[in-house]
Symmetry: C2
Subunit: 230 residues, 2 copies
């Protein structure tokens, strides 16, 4: 089985949550938009067809296109032992992933509170206000929720690593990149240990050291602007 | 099987997407937080337990709690014939629901661009800017996407009504409530016809005429502020 992943080249973004799952699963995949002609292929798929996705990332599996990050992970989790096997466990993993997705939207909207189609530079005063709200109110609430789930546990759900753990690793890395000062004020020993364990998994470690891994930057979801950190 | 739904009383909000599915399924459920002592019960469940949800709505099924609106609908869709039966169809329905969820977040953030914990009155200038972006850029993009899916079809997915159709009905009603002037500028014959068909379904029609149905208001997701309509 070979997968074709479609996502904006140049940023980790939401595509990274899918990449981490594919890498941990050890399956072969093509990161299409990072290959020659790949962006044009992605644009074509987004423009036509009865089951076209609303936006990247999406995964091509044979003739099927699967969109929405959490939905892609739900699909992969079932097939590659990256989620609990029973239905209740699968839905619980998915519920946590959707809660992470909520946090990801809010982390993005810190630098884009007015409009995703506008530049950050055109919404800086609002971004500064939203950043204060995010750092003081939302960030502690989300971190506390996930930290609490890890009390006495090694994984966020189930008895072994899942795509939720991989995504949590990426979210923590992104938050530390975007808000290094704010993140230092939170005690998250469970989440820190989880992140370290994920980074040390052989396939993930090999991936992180490879050119396939993209660095955070100021075009993605998690952006570092000193005036938004606190 | 009797379900217990937990959601903030007084607003349709995200709870309404679950209510519409439960009503169409014709199953009995208790809207717990709207009963005496129900808010305290909801608060207790949100505060403790290893599998507590991050936020309402959540559904209690026996001893299980299922959170995240789209996840609840995924669960109900499988059990009550409110989604395609095959796996590919189920994931496609879920993908559309997650895309609707993205639209719902954006419709909410029009009046709360700075912080969900602040009053609308404290973020009016930013809200006005975000409203312009939403009306001119995001709303047409989402409406065009869903309208296009209905070309020559009676349902957004599958061969019969699904929870996605029910949610689309609610989103269209909410958008028309919040942005009556902006919505008049969009031609959405497919979505209008779908909404009318949903409203005429016997169980939905009976529900809409009952006191169980809550009206839109300025505490919920879809709020009408004349200065944000255009």
């Amino acid at each position: 089985m070979s997968y074709r992943l479609y996502y904006w080249p140049g940023i980790p973004g939401r595509g990274e949550f899918v990449r981490l799952a594919l890498e941990e699963a050890g399956v072969s995949y093509l990161d299409v938009a990072r290959t020659p002609g790949g962006m044009a292929a992605m644009t074509r798929l987004l423009a036509r067809g009865p089951q076209r996705p609303f936006a990247p990332p999406f995964l091509q599996v044979g003739r099927r296109l699967i969109g929405q990050t959490a939905n892609i992970l739900f699909y992969l989790g079932t097939r590659h032992r990256l989620a609990p096997a029973d239905e209740a466990g699968r839905l619980w993993a998915h519920q946590l992933q959707l809660t992470l997705a909520d946090l990801i939207v809010e982390a993005h909207d810190v630098h884009h509170p007015i409009g995703v189609e506008l530049y950050y530079e055109d919404q800086r005063p609002a971004a500064k206000q939203r950043a204060t709200s995010f750092r003081k109110s939302r960030l502690p609430k989300f971190l506390g929720y996930f930290e609490n789930l890890l009390r006495g546990r090694k994984h966020l759900c189930g008895a072994r690593v899942s795509y939720v753990d991989l995504s949590m690793f990426q979210v923590m890395a992104g938050l530390r990149y975007a808000f290094p000062r704010a993140m230092k004020r939170h005690r998250t020993p469970g989440l820190d240990a989880l992140s370290a364990r994920v980074a040390e998994r052989p396939r993930i470690a090999a991936y992180l050291a490879s050119p396939r891994r993209l660095a955070f930057n100021e075009h993605g979801i998690f952006r570092h602007y000193a005036e938004l950190d606190g």
